[in-house]
């Protein structure tokens, strides 16, 4: 009646604590991004906001979405989608910026 031979069952339970730390980190980053928006870095403002958003997204992916514990195929899938988006946006801007 069992799947004892099943290696996938060997996941160690993740402790609750790590999720609270993840959540706190996300709250701190939210506070930083709201504060940073009030300062004037000029064109840097967008880059700062996007860098913080990307950091928050990475934290959610790695800890809440368990990417940290997944095999390489999941990381590769993610790299492919990020590269695809970068190509889309990059190529569009080579057109838009030099019209």
């Amino acid at each position: 009646m069992s799947h004892d031979h099943d290696h996938e069952a060997a996941h160690e339970p993740v402790s609750y604590g790590i999720y609270f730390v993840t959540w706190l980190a996300l709250l701190v980053l939210t506070a930083i991004t709201v504060t940073a928006a009030g300062l004037h870095f000029g064109a840097l403002n967008v880059l700062v906001a996007l860098a913080i958003a990307a950091t928050k997204a990475t934290i959610v992916l790695y800890f809440f979405m368990h990417l940290k514990y997944e095999t390489t195929i999941f990381h590769r899938m993610l790299v492919i989608v990020i590269v695809t988006l970068a190509i889309f946006i990059g190529l569009t801007f080579t057109d838009v910026l030099f019209r």
Binding site: Y19, L27, T30, L50, A57, F64, F74, I89
Partner: protein
């Protein structure tokens, strides 16, 4: 009395289902990626208009909704962790909290949209169309992107509500024996539940020629020591969806509320 034990094997491809949900999430990212591309191109063209229009959005409401969604992601993750620890009650409470916070996000969104619409700012309104082109585009993108995102939150809430009842009743597995498919092993005997010493706890009717199907349904809650991730992969996959909706909001928030 001879006993026949029949292995209750159910094939569940845990990794396969996880890859499938990630592929789906990638299509979601590309869907929003297209809208983010539109946003960035128009923002490059109408930087000033975007700044003015964004100043009209309430940063406080945006921040509040960010906090709500981040916290709902925490409760989602805790709900899944609770299943790993064999804590069914905590899993259900956290799942319910996640849905409630999703609801709170939608209520905020409703009030926010309502306020804009009552000021005659909505796609196609005459008041909005009288404004500079960049502001019309900004609000068009705002309603489209937060609208599609809100729709995802709603879908997530429905999904998690279904999962709540799944967790309440699950994990259950069902095995069917039909004539020609294992029923011959049981013919002439009885279905019984026995304890580890073989003492029957329950006995069924004698299985004779008139029996065409036997359905065995087991329902159990795994304890920490005997936990199988496969039993909760639907909950985990729904959680992944909830988190991707959170990630999309993480990008929407600064781009719409914080560019003043």
């Amino acid at each position: 009395m001879s006993t026949h034990s029949i292995a209750l094997e159910q094939h569940k491809d845990y990794t396969g289902s996880k890859i499938a949900i990630w592929l789906f999430l990638i299509t979601e990212v590309l869907l929003f990626g297209g809208m983010f591309l539109l946003y960035s191109v128009y923002r490059a063209d109408f930087a000033q208009d975007f700044h003015h229009a964004a100043a009209e959005l309430d940063t406080l409401v945006g921040t509040l909704n960010t906090l709500i969604l981040l916290t709902s992601s925490l409760s989602m993750a805790l709900s899944i962790a609770a299943t790993h620890h064999g804590n069914r009650k905590l899993a259900l409470i956290m799942l319910a909290l996640t849905v409630i916070m999703g609801g709170a996000f939608m209520v905020n969104k409703y009030l926010e949209w309502g306020a804009k619409i009552s000021h005659h700012i909505y796609p196609g309104s005459e008041v909005l169309l009288a404004r500079p082109k960049g502001e019309i585009i900004f609000f068009g993108l705002y309603f489209t992107m937060t609208g599609v995102h809100g729709l995802h939150v709603l879908v997530g809430m429905v999904l998690l509500t279904v999962m709540f009842f799944r967790v309440l009743n699950q994990p259950a597995s069902e095995v069917r024996f039909a004539a020609g498919h294992g029923l011959q092993h049981a013919a002439g005997g009885r279905l019984a539940i026995v304890d580890e010493r073989g003492t029957p706890l329950w006995k069924g009717e004698r299985i004779d020629g008139t029996v065409e199907h036997i359905v065995v349904k087991t329902r159990y809650w795994p304890v920490k020591e005997r936990f199988r991730v496969q039993d909760f992969n639907q909950l985990e996959n729904s959680g992944l969806y909830w988190h991707i909706v959170d990630i999309i909001w993480i990008f929407l928030f600064p781009l719409f509320y914080l560019i003043t």
